[in-house]
């Protein structure tokens, strides 16, 4: 038993070292961030939900620390703290990450790449997918399923729609977490569900009035009640949203054709060329060219770079509805899986231009990368 455990552990290590050595030859500097990390950035970026999968500990000074559950955030933080911050920089890594999993070991190896600051985004996107494919080939899985999506397309669609800001926020969030979207669309189409019965009369009275005056009135009423900043929100904020909700409750109703548009948009899938054609057609029909053209141009340019790298784009499955569930992803998302095995990703990556800002960068820094699931590849790919 001990012997088999040892072979299993050494085997992936040796092959993984060779993989990362190839990244180094390609110009990616190998880094090894600390295994023990502050928990805050992970909880902040991934949400409380990740807490159940993290190994947390509390330092004597009360700070929460964790065993790193991934390497993207640690590499990003080290980059921001270094003198290279803000400049183009390319890193690769190989090391253990720690996540509680009921069906597999909590400690497992991930290799990967993080590329910061590159302005030629479409080319960088294509390079990531291409390097990801090299990784699976390195392990004897030369033709994995390639699933891609592009978060920027949905974001552009929503930005271009004539909807109240609250509903735009909501739809983007729904898209990211892949739930509630259908339900929210139903609610929007029906409309009126936001009405607050107990305030109905007041809201009706405020509905037609000058927004500034209404805001002042609500603020004054709250102040008279002796309420200032309770629970961290200012009286002004509460008043603003109260009035926003009243506007929503009174009038907002998603036209059926807009709902139809969103649904048709999210149904688009196929290889990137087919999908682009379908998206162009839908854009023309819905007269949304100003909103969608930049994202579509970028999408097509990326497909061009994929072809230039020798990737058979007919094999690439694109879906407008495919996302990663984290709100800092901003463009390409991709997963390589083995169709003969489970749907678990062998390689997963994408573009997260908002990550470094969320981690404290003063100016936006483009970022793209991927992670390789070493043990899974070693098993699926078989003996070297």
């Amino acid at each position: 038993m001990d012997a088999s455990v040892t072979t299993q552990r050494q085997d992936p290590d040796a092959r993984a070292e060779a993989l990362v050595a190839s990244y180094e030859r390609a110009g990616y500097v190998r880094v090894a961030p600390a295994i023990l990390q502050p928990a805050e950035p992970f909880l902040d970026l991934s949400g409380e939900d990740i807490r159940r999968r993290m190994y947390l500990t509390t330092a004597p000074d009360g700070n929460e620390l964790c065993l790193r559950p991934d390497l993207t955030i640690p590499v990003s933080r080290d980059y921001l703290a270094s003198s290279a911050a803000g400049k183009p920089a390319n890193y690769c890594y190989l090391g253990p990450v720690f996540r509680h999993r009921s069906d597999a070991a909590a400690e497992f190896l991930q290799a990967g790449i993080e590329s910061f600051g590159r302005a030629d985004k479409a080319a960088a996107d294509a390079e990531m997918l291409s390097l990801g494919l090299e990784a699976t080939a390195h392990y004897g899985v030369p033709t994995p399923d390639i699933q891609i999506g592009d978060v920027a397309l949905f974001a552009s669609l929503i930005a271009g729609l004539d909807l109240p800001p609250a509903w735009k926020r909501r739809l983007i969030k729904d898209f990211n977490r892949k739930t509630n979207l259908a339900q929210d669309l139903d609610r929007l189409v029906l409309g009126g569900n936001n009405a607050r019965p107990e305030y109905q009369g007041v809201l009706a009275a405020l509905a037609g009035s000058d927004p500034k005056g209404a805001h002042a009135l609500v603020t004054d009423l709250l102040s008279i009640a002796g309420i200032n900043a309770v629970g961290g929100r200012s009286v002004g904020e509460i008043a603003d949203r109260f009035l926003e909700q009243s506007a929503l409750g009174a009038s907002a109703r998603l036209p059926r054709e807009v709902r139809g548009l969103i649904e048709r948009f999210l149904a688009i899938q196929g290889n990137p060329d087919e999908a682009a054609a379908a998206l162009r057609a839908l854009t023309r029909e819905a007269k949304m060219a100003p909103a969608l053209t930049p994202a579509l141009d970028h999408f097509e340019s990326r497909t061009g770079f994929l072809e230039a790298r020798g990737i058979d784009v007919k094999r690439v499955r694109f879906s407008t509805a495919f996302g990663r569930g984290f709100d800092y992803y901003t463009g390409l998302v991709f997963e390589l899986t083995d169709p003969k095995r489970t749907g678990d990703p062998l390689v997963a990556g994408g573009r997260y231009d908002e990550l470094l800002t969320r981690l404290g960068a003063a100016n936006p820094i483009p970022a793209v990368g991927f992670a390789v699931w070493i043990e899974r590849l070693a098993v699926y790919g078989g003996a070297p």
């Binding site: 902040d44 409380e48 939900d49 969030k173 739930t179 607050r196 309420i227 309770v230 949203r241």
Partner: protein, 323 residues
């Protein structure tokens, strides 16, 4: 008998009094042979049962670990402290005391917040405006996380609070809270209101069995006895006995009464002399007596029940199927 069946009972306060009263009503008197300060006890007249007096939180973790067989603890603690609770323990029966709701509460001043979907929206715009996430003070970390996640809420942070949670928003250590409440008075006194669909759990004290405990024949036999008595008592409390005599056939009458008043007929149809015995939920008793009199009963007698033992043992069946 080598190893005893261990029954864990809350060690102090109202919960202990209620639990002891509950078992006493079921004819199971908990005794402390070695004095009131002892944390080990027994059940009068039932050999082989050891009573362990522990805190409710300890009872919960001991149940999860299989270190005790049966225990009395709140469902809130079971759901909070035991991951995948239904795989570790069996909630056999709500005991009718220790009621408390675990709720999401926000400052009353948030006149724009009524539902969890408002909270979803507010938490996201709060992060955008304030560059940090809203904080939720609670001791129910797991319940909060699951509930928020089921509502798709992501932009929040949990601040662990071990006491006086309702004061956190006023103290500025959190924006909202998740806490237990019975009447809502404490929340209101602290300027908080319960979110309409923000009730996470309606909890009460439960009799809970540990799946991981040793359940040999001896333990099962003892559990059968305890649960039989508990069930007999529970059933007795859920019904009043209503007796009346009828001259004519009562078949249709009984069918009608079953539909209208949720009655049961523990002894089947009327006796040879036409006496019918019905078990009726307490809140339906008066309506039932009217109904019976309108349909030919001269007199109707209503009595409280001490115990109702039935051939089947539903609580033990629940335990057996859960183990």
């Amino acid at each position: 008998m080598s190893e005893p069946l261990v029954l864990a009972v809350p060690a102090k306060g109202r919960l202990q009094e209620n639990a002891e009263a509950f078992f006493a009503r079921a004819g199971l008197t908990l005794i402390k042979p070695r004095g009131a300060r002892d944390y080990r006890g027994a059940v009068a007249g039932l050999d082989g049962v050891e009573v362990a007096y522990l805190s409710a939180a300890e009872i919960t973790s001991q149940l999860a670990a299989g270190a005790v067989h049966l225990g009395v603890t709140g469902e809130d603690l079971v759901r909070e402290l035991i991951p995948d609770a239904d795989k570790q323990v069996v909630l056999i029966e709500g005991l009718g005391f220790g009621f408390a709701n675990v709720v999401v509460a926000v400052p009353q001043a948030w006149i724009d917040v009524r539902t969890m979907s408002d909270i979803d929206d507010v938490t996201t715009s709060f992060r955008q405006h304030h560059d940090r996430k809203m904080r939720v003070a609670t001791k129910y970390i797991n319940l909060t996380r699951d509930f928020f996640s089921s509502h798709g809420i992501v932009d929040y942070r949990i601040v662990e609070s071990s006491g006086a949670t309702e004061g956190a928003p006023a103290a500025g250590t959190a924006e909202m809270i998740v806490d237990i409440t019975t009447t809502g008075t404490t929340l209101a006194a602290n300027g908080l209101k319960i979110v309409e669909d923000g009730t996470i759990l309606r909890s009460q004290a439960n009799l809970v069995a540990a799946r991981g405990a040793t359940w040999g024949k001896d333990e099962r036999d003892l559990a059968r006895v305890i649960l039989d008595r508990v069930a007999a008592q529970a059933r007795a409390r859920a019904f009043r006995e209503v007796r009346a005599r009828f001259a004519a056939s009562t078949e249709m009458l009984v069918e009608n009464a079953k539909r209208k008043f949720n009655i049961e007929t523990p002894f089947g149809g009327p006796t040879g002399s036409g006496v019918l015995t019905l078990h009726c939920p307490p809140d339906q008793v008066y309506a039932l007596t009217n109904f019976l009199r309108e349909n030919g009963a001269e007199a109707v007698a209503v009595a409280e029940l001490g115990y109702v033992f039935s051939r089947d043992n539903p609580l033990f069946a629940k335990l057996e199927s859960g183990l």
